[in-house]
């Protein structure tokens, strides 16, 4: 590379201190969901004295070059999120042994790459719990799943959701649909509305930006939503629970192990047990018009199942196939 501008020189300087961290995500910020969550984690690193940079690399064919540019610019830690980055990391990480890579939400690399740490987030378990919750609180016996795009992790989440619901109530009926985009709340609303018109009364929304549409439809229909993003004032009244992940916290914690000297390559698990992923009652649950009490009651079952999942008594299926 070259270091002609002062910005570059400054970065190189920081790199010498091991204090620059870059976050690369495959989606733009602003989804109020995973990406924003990660960006919040980045802000914590900034507070901790890191020079931070956030890069939204929306074009999969640019992933490799973005990683390479960052590494060449002397970035000391590069955090990437989601499985889109598996192949680019495999290609780039070995070229820059002095740069640490933290991969949030992916399968561990086999064999382990010495400068890559993978944080495996288990979102299946909270999906399973969401199925338990939905089946418990549903009055109609019909529940729904709304995904963003139809991709393997969401298929897996759906299958876990289905299993949780079926295990709770064998006659439960489950509808599912994919918006086709994580950024189309309008269609999310129409899908949810259609589901509510077809007897669904609880939806697990795993649709990022499109989930807001699901919430709006639920407001209209007086139905319940298990939400995948951070709560906002708009989600009051229909969101009964949040099924999400502490991406940002986990990321910040893991990056901070580097100066602490405890960083290790390979696999780190962030699941229910580690509080990396969770299903918890909505903070604004009291504003839900009907059934807040039932939801609270249902959470006793949920906690019960959660314990069983953690100690292995309940097996959450893992199936990334469609259908």
């Amino acid at each position: 590379g070259c270091a002609s501008t002062s910005g570059q020189a400054g970065q190189a300087q920081d790199a010498a201190d091991g204090k620059t961290v870059a976050l690369v995500t495959p989606q733009k910020a602003g989804d109020n969901g995973p990406t924003d969550n990660l960006v919040a984690g980045l802000d914590r690193l900034k507070e901790a004295g890191y020079t931070t940079r956030f890069v939204a690399a929306t074009d999969p064919s640019s992933h490799e070059s973005t990683l390479r540019s960052l590494a060449q610019a002397g970035t000391s830690v590069i955090v990437v999120s989601f499985s889109e980055f598996i192949q680019p990391i495999k290609a780039v990480a070995p070229e820059f042994p002095d740069t640490r890579f933290v991969h949030i939400y992916a399968d561990p690399y086999k064999p382990t790459i010495p400068n890559v740490q993978t944080v495996v987030f288990d979102t299946r378990a909270p999906s399973y719990l969401a199925g338990v919750l939905a089946a418990t609180v549903s009055k109609t016996g019909v529940i729904g799943f709304v995904g963003g795009t139809a991709i393997p992790p969401l298929y897996a989440d759906f299958h876990a959701f289905e299993a949780g619901a079926k295990a709770t109530r064998s006659d439960i009926s489950i509808k599912s649909a994919y918006v086709g985009s994580f950024g189309d709340p309008v269609k999310g609303q129409q899908i949810a509305q259609t589901m509510f018109n077809n007897k669904v009364d609880v939806i697990l929304a795993y649709a990022g930006g499109s989930s807001l549409g699901v919430v709006r439809a639920a407001d209209q229909a007086g139905a319940h939503v298990i939400y995948d993003n951070a709560e906002t004032p708009e989600t009051a009244g229909s969101v009964i629970a949040v099924a999400s992940q502490h991406y940002g916290d986990t990321m910040a914690r893991n990056v901070l192990t580097i100066p602490a000297g405890t960083w290790k390559a390979g696999e780190i698990v962030a699941g229910l047990a580690e509080d990396g992923t969770f299903l918890k009652p909505a903070a604004q649950l009291d504003s839900v018009k009907q059934g807040a009490a039932e939801v609270r009651a249902a959470f006793e079952t949920v906690e019960d199942v959660k314990t069983k999942i953690i100690n292995g008594a309940v097996d959450v299926p893992f199936n990334t196939e469609a259908g």
Binding site: K28, A29, G30, D31, N32, D36, G144, A150, K175, S176, A177, Y178, G180, S181, G183, D184, P185, V186, K187, G188, Q189, Q190, I191, Q193, T194, M195, N197, N198, G209, L212, G213, R216, A217, Q220, T232, E234, A322, G323
Partner: protein, 301 residues
């Protein structure tokens, strides 16, 4: 059933209004590929203003104002600077997408969706009985019904409409009849800007009451397809748009009902496949009826 029809109408409304906009433009001789951009800019302006002022009237006014400016820009570039209509249209769509995303960051500090405290009024909210589903429809959907009638009337039953159509059918003839062709084109584009402002407001403020980056998701291009599918005629364009609404609602319904049967990607493809088939069938029918496109001499003035 009523619910299903309401979903059809909701899905159709933005496409419908944008398609009417495209119809006016194409009648006047301007192929309008900027509909997508105008949808986004209308949606953004409406939502940003609603967030800022809390007034739905101001929100609509802002959407209209922004779209009038962009439509005028379209006109200036294509008419005065003789830029290629289609490239400018596509460029407008791309620029609007980028500019609204950029403005989100600059004005609101993040790329996050902005949420409006208010939505479009729903004139029949609170009805009970079989008409209850109508309560879910925003005022813009009803406006679309009225405006499509207006489009029909203005195009088919007024001299101004005849003059507008002449600008597209044979600009030289129009000019010979004393029609100020460029001004009529500007008028058509401005009407289109207004219609797309309503369509954009419907997208962002009717149901989801928020604007997020890329909210129109290609609906403007479907609207353009509806213009051609509907034979650039008011009734045909309305029918084509409603057909797209129906296709969208059916797509959703079939996902909900049989998601296991078919990979979701194929269900999501349906509207596009349907469009191609419909355009081809229309073209074939026109060809059968001998309505072939002929090379028209462009007489210069």
């Amino acid at each position: 059933m009523g619910d299903f029809l309401v979903t059809c109408l909701q899905a159709a409304t933005p496409i419908w209004l944008a398609a009417l906009a495209g119809m006016y433009a194409q009648r006047a001789g301007v192929v309008h590929l900027g509909l997508e951009g105008l949808l986004v800019s209308g949606a953004f302006a409406a939502t940003a203003t609603a967030v800022g002022t809390g007034s739905i009237v101001l929100a609509l006014a802002a959407a209209v104002a922004v779209n009038l400016v962009l439509s005028a820009l379209f006109w200036v570039l294509t008419t005065y600077f003789k830029a290629n209509v289609m490239i400018v249209g596509l460029g407008l769509s791309l620029t609007a997408a980028g500019a609204t995303g950029y403005a989100l960051v600059v004005v609101f500090g993040s790329e996050a969706a902005i949420r409006s405290p208010i939505g479009l009024p729903r004139p029949f909210d609170g009805l009970s009985g079989p008409l209850a589903p109508l309560g879910d429809l925003s005022i813009v959907t009803f406006a679309a019904v009225v405006l499509s009638w207006f489009a029909w009337w203005s195009i088919r039953r007024t001299r101004a409409g005849l003059r507008l159509s002449a600008c597209g059918s044979d600009p030289f003839a129009a000019k010979s009849a004393g029609v100020p062709v460029e001004r009529y084109r500007l008028a058509a584009l401005l009407i289109g800007g207004f219609l797309c402002a309503l369509a954009g407001a419907e997208l962002s403020l009717a149901q989801v009451q928020s604007f997020s980056d890329g909210i129109s998701q290609g609906r403007g291009y479907l609207a353009f397809a509806a213009v051609l599918l509907g034979g650039v005629a008011p009734v045909g364009v309305s029918v084509a748009s409603l057909f797209f609404g129906l296709a969208a609602a059916l797509g959703i319904q079939s996902q909900v009902d049989f998601n296991d049967a078919l990979p979701p990607q194929f269900v999501l493809m349906a509207p596009y496949v349907v469009t191609i088939v419909a355009i081809s069938v229309t073209a074939l029918a026109n060809r059968r009826r001998g309505r072939q496109q002929t090379v028209i001499m462009e007489r210069t003035l």
